[in-house]
Symmetry: C2
Subunit: 440 residues, 2 copies
């Protein structure tokens, strides 16, 4: 049986899962692949820690350069994370003609162009299925299964930490900080949760998906990003009363010459299947012009689900090696010369439905004043609700709008915020209804 040699850089949670799968599922993988995957070297600073795996003598080493320079190693799996040494080692491995696999979305979102270019120039494959959506085969589905589709939109719950926290706030009516503490205690959130809760991780993933869906450059910096730190149980409860759930969404829409690309908490109606995705699960809806909606759902993180995606990449690249077919599918789905500079729609030009919550003095005429300002900015109100108990002398006034433009909304909210009858900062949450469903 032919052998393919694997070297792994970093053996943290996911790396450990990859090693476990390669060792435990050896016979199963061979019966499918028809070749043997040999994990020759795993480089990690900490080789003493018990990972629950029996590595053969000499497999676990501390010197990463031994992995990228070993002439026998065919495929290098980068599991270090971050943008420093990981990038250097990948570039070195590419130069040495290795096939590359990574789950490092931050690195690809920030330095993807350089890495993909290097990989193409050296005629090696660079695979990254595990970087988006854990075990969900979203990269493969976009690159291979939806190949005959103009992708029209994608809407994803792509960060398990945020989804866990929002689910907790929803069920337990706790604050964001209480929910975060629970997530941290359960290992669903990092000690420094910034990357997750501020939406950056979701945006890294969206940048990659946009590139392969639309044939555009990986443009993380153009994505509008808003995290979940200001989401309150009150807004979640109002959302519920109106038939919505609040989720942190990655949203992109193909608008012809431009693309909407944004990450923010959004209200989605109960009849949208994404509203049912709770806890640390991930899901994504892709709309293609031929297929209509397709949805993938699965564990977006965790040792074994993510490792499963990494090993699927290993087998894919092994198959390319065994068949002399390296470069069979372009890394970014499109041929390099077909990748375009498609601009992202500035957030100010977004047109969507909005939910506002104002803390207003309980006083006649308040509503008409707020409505007046909105009217001045061409924002048409769909429904108004003045509900709940007074707190600090103010009552919550909640409004849902027809489709309005973000720039006008911002101006209107700034004006309303300055009114004496309004206390505190107005809350704005965008609503993801079916587009233009209400005709305006």
């Amino acid at each position: 049986m032919k052998k393919i040699y694997i070297g792994m850089l970093g053996c943290g949670t996911v790396g450990t899962g990859v090693a476990k799968l390669l060792i435990r599922q050896k016979a199963l993988i061979e019966s499918r692949l028809g070749a043997s995957l040999i994990l020759k070297h795993v480089a990690d600073i900490d080789i003493a820690r018990d990972r629950g795996i029996f590595f053969d003598e000499g497999v676990l080493i501390t010197d990463a350069s031994k992995v990228v320079n070993d002439p026998q190693i065919d495929i290098v799996v980068e599991m270090i994370g971050g943008q420093g040494i990981a990038k250097e080692l990948i570039l070195k491995a590419i130069k040495n003609g290795k096939q590359i696999i990574t789950a490092n979305k931050a690195l690809l979102a920030m330095h993807g162009s350089e890495l993909f270019k290097a990989s193409e120039a050296n005629h090696t494959d660079l695979a990254y299925e595990a970087s988006v959506g854990g075990c969900m085969p979203i990269i493969k589905s976009l690159r291979e299964s939806l190949i005959a589709n103009q992708i029209q939109a994608m809407t994803g719950i792509l960060n398990g930490t945020c989804n866990f926290i929002l689910s907790k706030i929803t069920v337990e009516h706790c604050t964001f900080h209480e929910a975060l503490a629970i997530a941290q205690a359960k290992g669903f959130a990092e000690t420094d949760p910034t990357l997750d809760v501020e939406g950056y991780d979701t945006a890294h993933k969206l940048a990659l998906l946009n590139a392969i869906a639309y044939g555009m450059k990986v443009n993380y910096n153009d994505i509008y990003i808003e995290g979940i730190t200001r989401i309150t149980p009150l807004d979640i409860e109002f959302a519920r009363q109106f038939g919505y759930k609040i989720k942190l969404l990655a949203i992109s829409k193909n608008r012809g010459g431009t693309v909407e690309a944004r990450v923010h908490p959004a209200m989605i109606p109960f009849d949208n299947l994404l509203s049912e995705i709770n806890g640390s699960l991930n899901a994504i809806t892709v709309v293609g012009d031929a297929v209509g909606d397709i949805i993938l759902y699965g564990h977006g993180a965790g040792m074994m689900p993510t490792a499963s995606a990494v090993v699927s990449d290993i087998v894919d690249l092994a198959r390319n090696l065994l068949n002399g077919a390296v470069g069979r599918v372009p890394a970014l789905s499109f041929q390099t010369d077909a990748i375009k500079n498609i601009p992202v729609l500035p957030i100010d030009e977004l047109r969507t439905h909005y939910y506002f919550r104002f803390a207003a003095i309980d006083h006649p005429g308040v509503l008409s004043k707020i409505a007046g300002v909105l009217g001045d900015h061409n924002i048409s109100i769909k429904s108004v609700h003045q509900k709940g108990r007074k707190s600090d002398g103010a009552v919550p006034v909640v409004m849902m709008t027809h489709i309005a433009q973000e720039a006008s909304v911002k101006k209107a909210l700034a004006e309303i915020s300055a009114l004496e009858i309004v206390t505190g900062k107005p809350v704005l949450i965008r609503i993801e209804d079916k587009n233009g469903e209400d005709g305006n």
Copy 2:
């Protein structure tokens, strides 16, 4: 730009969709594939019909043998259906070294072994993504993305016609025959709906999925099959009251040395996402030992969604041709010598939860008599409900059981059926709760 020549056999609904995609998305496909797909010949008996496509002179022909014998044609797409001429033409095309694509699940379920063997012997690819789940990439996901997983179970809604009919009965409280008539009027059901409503089509698909998931032979004949023709609005309403929906499911479970493989209407709880799949949509849950649950959802039929899957196969095989990598992924996921004879668990040995409905004389002691028979057969009752209006002098008695064995259930129901206090045939619907969730 390199050219790959396609020949198509049959140009009905899906075939027309394939031709439309190849013509209309030509530039998009080229920008992804880096090669040109040329639809050289389309053979159909009826070349006069307006399909809304402009075929170049000489493309549309009546002689199918011209397609399979044309030395320039690389890939033959079989869109005829049925098991007669379709099989002959595929075998002829394989003999001529053509790559084959089909969406013909009936053919593959009945004659797959012969066809896959011929394809392997002639070193050609035989792809069939569109045969299961329309546009959902379930074949690719099982064969490539879940490669490092022991598949533990699959539960699918794989027939849009049945799902449409059951959704109609649920929403409109009509009979099966009324719902079928609506489905036929809307084009969701054939004039002869047997293949769909009796569950055969779903079983064809399950036979293929089982083969690629578990590495077993395509064994359509071993699958237990029960259709939806006896589902009544009354049972759907009872199901709803108990927190369940009724769906026609394809169910398979890996029981170690054996596999459960069955197609029948089943009750699934509201918190199972499959219960939310309405109308003609399809969805499937796959459980893998590394990934846990993953779900795919999408249009399981229809011209363009199915055509999208066919074209994804065309591009896949074109990539193999362009890279000299024919046979890169084994047709049935496993290497031929690794495919085993895994027996299917006889339905009598099934152990699951059951819903029963009896029409019983409204009379004291009835319940204890029925319960007595069930007890004699070791069937433990979880809940009993005697509800609703009397009709023909009988009232419905509904029971949900703990886990029981099918053979005992059959015997018990036969005995109960013979009781004078019971009129008509008892109704039995299997329940798909999480396995053994109630501990017995």
